[in-house]
Symmetry: C2
Amino acid sequence: MTRPLRFTLEGTSGAARAGRLELPRATVLTPTFMAVGTRGAVKACTTDQVAATGTRILLGNTFHLALRPGPDLVKAAGGLPAFNRWPHAMLTDSGGYQVFSLSELRRITEQGVVFKSPYDGATIDLTPERSIEVQNALGADIIMAFDECAPFPCTKDEAASAVARTTRWARRSLDAHARPGEQALFGIVQGGVHLDLRQESAAALLELDLPGYAVGGLSVGEGPEAMDATLAGTCPLLPADRPRYLMGVGKPEDIVRSVLRGIDMFDCVLPTRNARNAEVFVWPRGVLRLKHAAHAEDHGPIDPTCDCLACANGVSRAYLRHLHKVGEIAALTYGSIHNLRYYQRLVVALREQVLAGTVDAWAREWLASGAPAA
Amino acid sequence: MTRPLRFTLEGTSGAARAGRLELPRATVLTPTFMAVGTRGAVKACTTDQVAATGTRILLGNTFHLALRPGPDLVKAAGGLPAFNRWPHAMLTDSGGYQVFSLSELRRITEQGVVFKSPYDGATIDLTPERSIEVQNALGADIIMAFDECAPFPCTKDEAASAVARTTRWARRSLDAHARPGEQALFGIVQGGVHLDLRQESAAALLELDLPGYAVGGLSVGEGPEAMDATLAGTCPLLPADRPRYLMGVGKPEDIVRSVLRGIDMFDCVLPTRNARNAEVFVWPRGVLRLKHAAHAEDHGPIDPTCDCLACANGVSRAYLRHLHKVGEIAALTYGSIHNLRYYQRLVVALREQVLAGTVDAWAREWLASGAPAA
């Protein structure tokens, strides 16, 4: 059987890694940041604008897409990348996280999760088998096993129970996977901030010999120190020759710290959500709040070092502040493009520092600089 | 003194004209359709997306820009085209139309109009001198005289009074114009549907020897037959060697009819507003309502004959319907780009037909085809 994923480590620096991820629709250099297109589009952007930021993997949310427009329609379009005209690689999540974080009236059993659709109140079953069936229809390059993401905080017993269920559901996800030659199924290591549970979870998932592994259940309120400690204990448990994906992360400083621990892939709504709130990132580290009066007469670009569509074209802080103040959609578009480009520049810089063997010093200086992206 | 505008008639077909309009920032082939960037941006589009539709003149609204962000800020940015990074020509209206159509608590005197800002309730004076001062600061290639646009319907006495005041205000606008070598000031012919008043208005404005003339006060409820009859009577009153601009028009069929009467320039919010309402134009004539269930499983483009970013990239009716249904901004962007491109294709086709001497037959067939763009 052909393999849908080939991962080559091109360099390491301490635990940090630079790699090459070959997928059916794109070859992606790692570390990589994936843009989030929840409902089949990155908010306020066209796909060509997202591609122009250097983004090479786009994430689609199985939970949302399963409800609207539904997997059958997307499949009939030729899969999600054909449906939304994305020219590079895609990843779909399993829907598990949204079921646990968004749904009202959900009921969890060993079989799966029953919840009410936030669109029309219809009762929906989501099981490992159904999640994979939907993801097979969506047709992304990478798909995710259906997992139970325990809430934070929770008791250790609850975390252990979620780990055990996640292991059983990963096996069922693998068994249900009908397109293993075309779509790479990743397992998700759970266990909260408990390293013994993370070890148990990783060991069980490694038995499935999956093409990639994700770390789930972080960035849910545990704080940066606990996240860093958990990654420091978890990454060494994962096979060196497989990509490692830290789900839903995160702030730029989270990404810098996590690359140092050995993470290769990230996704987060932060760059586009912040842009819609008129917050834009500046290199190397910092955030501008465009609505502040300080920017009212600043005719310079968001970031003179940036080569995004907005900055390269001279779109100014004063202009963006004006657009935000009067409610023009273009403000959200320019900011989203800029912030996505900032994230791409960050992962490219991290990659270059890893390849040069200098990422530790670079990251230490970076983390000591600027204001945290609050 | 240098002239900021040079207009060359390249061909005529009956009353219809094809021309070349040389402006400081662009050479524009006519008939031309100008995109509306009310508050300094075309809604849901970046300027590069608008330019890619073939649009060569962007309109800015003096009323809105005078209030937010204010002319001083735009002037400090280097003018409106520098502020919003528009690479081609611009036109600003005088603010008159918005004062009359949008403002609460306005008071009209011979001096000008006093109104309350819809942003903060502040009392604002807008006079011919102030309108031109603001437009000189905004720095567009074409600026408009401050006029009184009478409501529709109104008595003939009211229409006559508005004509007389528009004439006096046009003289004051010309006297106030501080950048005649860089910005072409257009006069606005008023008179409602009364051809004797249109004649009086045109004759008085022609004495000012302005580089271009607009027809104002149409598309305000008089209906297509009255508009057409008014243009048939008014266009012959205007000098053949100056561009003619029909303000705020319109639907595709209005544009086709008005080109036959001798109009060269148009602007309207319709293509972008309709796009935000999920209505898109199809060639040669028709409207698709993307939210209709009929499009749910239609994986073809909006219009297979269209070369806009969306259609050329295979963005489908089913995808756009989905994006509209779930409230994604990208739906508005794709639709706006498509509709602006449709309008550009329409004026390009009209120009080609004029140059070929076949525009009457073409327009007759076009007007008899398809459904009106309701």
